[in-house]
Each structure stands twice: as structure tokens, then as C-alpha cells.
């Protein structure tokens, strides 16, 4: 069995989760592309591409189930890019989930950084403290050109 494969399948609940994810997508705030890559205006997940982490997180079949999450960033992109997140009172950290394809390194910088290796389903996460200061916050996604990804940031309160 290869490393990084799914331990659980996405069951019928994924359909409901997809609807939830679509609804959440509409609530995404403060996303602006500032790099050579950027947001791909497509809300469906291609078969061979990365899978939206929110679909996994909302699935009861998934061990890392997170219910009722409201992401501060939820987007699909390609290549390196930079996005902004507005500051919110009481948000101490942003927890980032990344799925990307094909396999290559990825890095998310938000003051400091979290990095790993691309997999179609996310296999890790990094909770990064919100940088001190005022004004908008910048999130940089560093992947090779041509790499497709989903990026989700979930605010973590005090």
C-alpha cells in the first residue's frame, strides 16, 4: 500500500459536504491574487486534480472531521500566488490545509511558514500564529508553475 493513500473513502455524505463546501466558498473573504498564479474560477474538483480539503473535513467518514467551520480562505489556484486575509478580532492563528497535484513541494507563508509535499488529499496541516501588527495579512502559496492546489485557512480563536 502506498504511502499517502486514503485510509477511508469519501462516502455518500460527501455529496452533502460538497454542497456545504460550495456554500462556504461563497463566504470566502478577502481573496486577491497577487502572484503569477492565482485563483482558478472553478468550483468543481477535476478527477485527476487535488481534492478540496473542505470536502474531506466535512465528511463523517473522515477521521479529521471538523464541523461548522467557516474558512477565512478557501480557493483553488495554480502556480505560485499571494492572497490577503482581513484581520479579525480574537483570531489567534490560521490553520492551513493544502491539497495539490502533481506531487511536488508546497509552502505556505503567513509571517512564518508551513510546508510539505503535494498530495491529492491533504495529509497534514499547519496552524500559523497571526502576525502582529495592523492592516491586511498576506498569504503566499509557493508551488511550482503548473501545480494545481486547493488552499483552505480556518481561523483559530483564543
Amino acid at each position: 500500500m502506498g504511502s499517502g493513500s486514503r485510509g477511508r473513502g469519501v462516502g455518500s455524505a460527501a455529496v452533502a459536504a460538497a454542497l456545504l463546501a460550495a456554500a462556504l466558498l461563497a463566504t470566502t473573504v478577502g481573496c486577491t491574487s497577487g502572484g503569477p498564479g492565482g485563483v482558478v474560477p472553478e468550483t468543481t474538483t477535476p478527477q485527476a486534480g487535488p481534492v478540496d480539503p473542505l470536502l474531506d473535513l466535512a465528511s463523517p467518514d473522515y477521521a479529521d472531521l471538523m464541523e461548522g467551520v467557516r474558512p477565512s480562505l478557501h480557493l483553488r489556484g495554480e502556480g505560485p500566488a499571494r492572497y490577503s486575509i482581513g484581520r479579525s478580532a480574537g483570531v489567534r492563528e490560521q490553520r492551513f490545509f493544502v491539497s495539490c497535484h502533481p506531487q511536488s513541494p508546497f509552502r505556505v507563508t503567513f509571517g512564518t511558514f508551513y510546508s510539505g509535499t503535494c498530495t491529492s488529499h491533504f495529509t497534514s496541516s499547519g496552524s500559523i500564529p497571526v502576525p502582529a501588527g495592523d492592516g491586511p495579512l498576506s498569504v503566499e502559496v509557493d508551488v511550482a508553475a503548473g501545480v494545481h492546489y486547493w488552499l483552505v485557512a480556518i481561523p483559530v480563536g483564543p
Binding site: S3, T112, Y114, S125, G126
Partner: protein, 203 residues
């Protein structure tokens, strides 16, 4: 005087007879009786742990033909699961987690030769070393191994894998003279039957 001597002789004969009867009363094969079968590993059984003490044992305790195993442990080392996604890195203050829904694999080797089966190796290592190993380990984790990179690190790294135990297992045959004759040895380098998270400072 003759009467006293005769009485003494009679009492002696009775005592001797009683003792003989007492010995004869022990059932052959009953627990504790000479020649009774003893389960390997049972208390008092000539298992691996008391190999040295058995060398000087009474010959009457060995029926011969008994096979047993003994494991030696030479080292333990962390083995990261295969696949680059089994490790993540982050800057100071970042909490790294690994998904509990991801299947990871750690390979191992248990050489099954000389009439020593892999199952015998696993059972012997469990008895003598105290850990349960597998030829290889694959599955999901029950916790995420969440770890916050310390503030004095520039880069921290979280990896999932397993502790691999290495050593040898020897098969012995005990003959009727209570001599333990080696029948062969195999090596093992196998992961423990549980996941292990390793944290490290990259810089």
C-alpha cells in the same frame, strides 16, 4: 534387648514402605511430576529467559526433543514512513499536524529461513524483548501527532513512522541430556506495532 532391636527394624521397614508408596502415588504426567510436559514460556518452563539456569538442571527434567526460541535485541531506530508526505516542516510557533485519515507504511524484514517462521520470530520478540513487531506496518494513525515548533527553532520538522527493532532469533532443540543445541538463527529488523512521531530541529 532383642525385642527392642526387632521393633526398631519393623518400624524402619514400615517407614521405608510408606515412603515408597508416597512416591508411587504421584501420577506420571501430573503437573510438577517428573516427566510432566511443560508449556514453553510457562512459569518454571525452560524458556528463553532462563536458558543459563537450565544448563545445570537435573537430567531427569528433560524429555528431549523440545524446541524453543530465544531473541536478542541489538538496536532500535526510528524509521519514517515511506512517502515524502510523511513529514512536514514549519517555522517557529507553527503547530504541525499529520492527518489521521492517511494511510502510511513502514517496511521491515523478518528473514524466514532454517525452519524458523516469521510468526515464531514475532512471538519470541514479544516474549523476550517485550514489544510486538510486524514484518511491515501499514495503516492510519489514531492521533495527529500535533506539535508546536519551539520559538527558538528556525525550522522544525514533524515526521510519522515507527520504531524499528533489530536483532536475532535463535531456534534451540533441547535433548534428553538437557543440552540446548542451536538449530539456526534468523535476523529481524521490524517495525513496532504502533505509530511513532518524531520531532526534530532542522535549523
Amino acid at each position: 534387648m532383642k525385642k527392642i532391636l526387632a521393633t526398631t527394624a519393623l518400624v524402619g521397614l514400615l517407614i521405608a514402605g510408606g515412603a515408597t508408596s508416597a512416591r508411587a502415588g504421584a501420577l506420571p504426567g501430573a503437573p510438577g511430576a517428573p516427566g510432566a510436559p511443560v508449556a514453553p514460556g510457562a512459569a518454571g518452563a525452560p524458556g528463553a529467559a532462563d536458558l543459563g539456569s537450565r544448563v545445570g538442571a537435573s537430567r531427569s527434567l528433560c524429555s528431549g526433543g523440545r524446541v524453543f526460541y530465544r531473541a536478542s535485541h541489538t538496536g532500535t531506530a526510528f524509521a519514517q514512513a515511506s512517502g515524502a508526505n510523511s513529514a512536514v516542516t514549519g517555522g517557529p510557533g507553527v503547530t504541525l499536524t499529520i492527518s489521521r485519515s492517511t494511510t502510511f507504511t513502514v517496511g521491515g524484514s523478518i528473514t524466514s529461513t532454517g525452519g524458523i517462521s516469521a510468526s515464531a520470530v514475532i512471538a519470541t520478540v514479544k516474549a523476550d524483548v517485550g514489544v510486538t513487531v510486524q514484518a511491515s506496518r501499514s495503516g492510519t494513525t489514531t492521533n495527529s501527532g500535533a506539535w508546536r515548533v519551539p520559538g527558538n527553532y528556525t525550522i522544525g520538522r514533524l515526521a510519522i513512522g515507527s520504531l524499528k527493532y533489530s536483532g536475532r532469533v535463535t531456534k534451540y532443540l533441547e535433548n534428553s541430556g538437557c543440552q540446548q543445541l542451536s538449530q539456526g538463527t534468523v535476523s529481524y529488523n521490524a517495525p513496532r506495532n504502533e505509530w511513532h512521531f518524531q520531532t526534530s530541529r532542522v535549523s
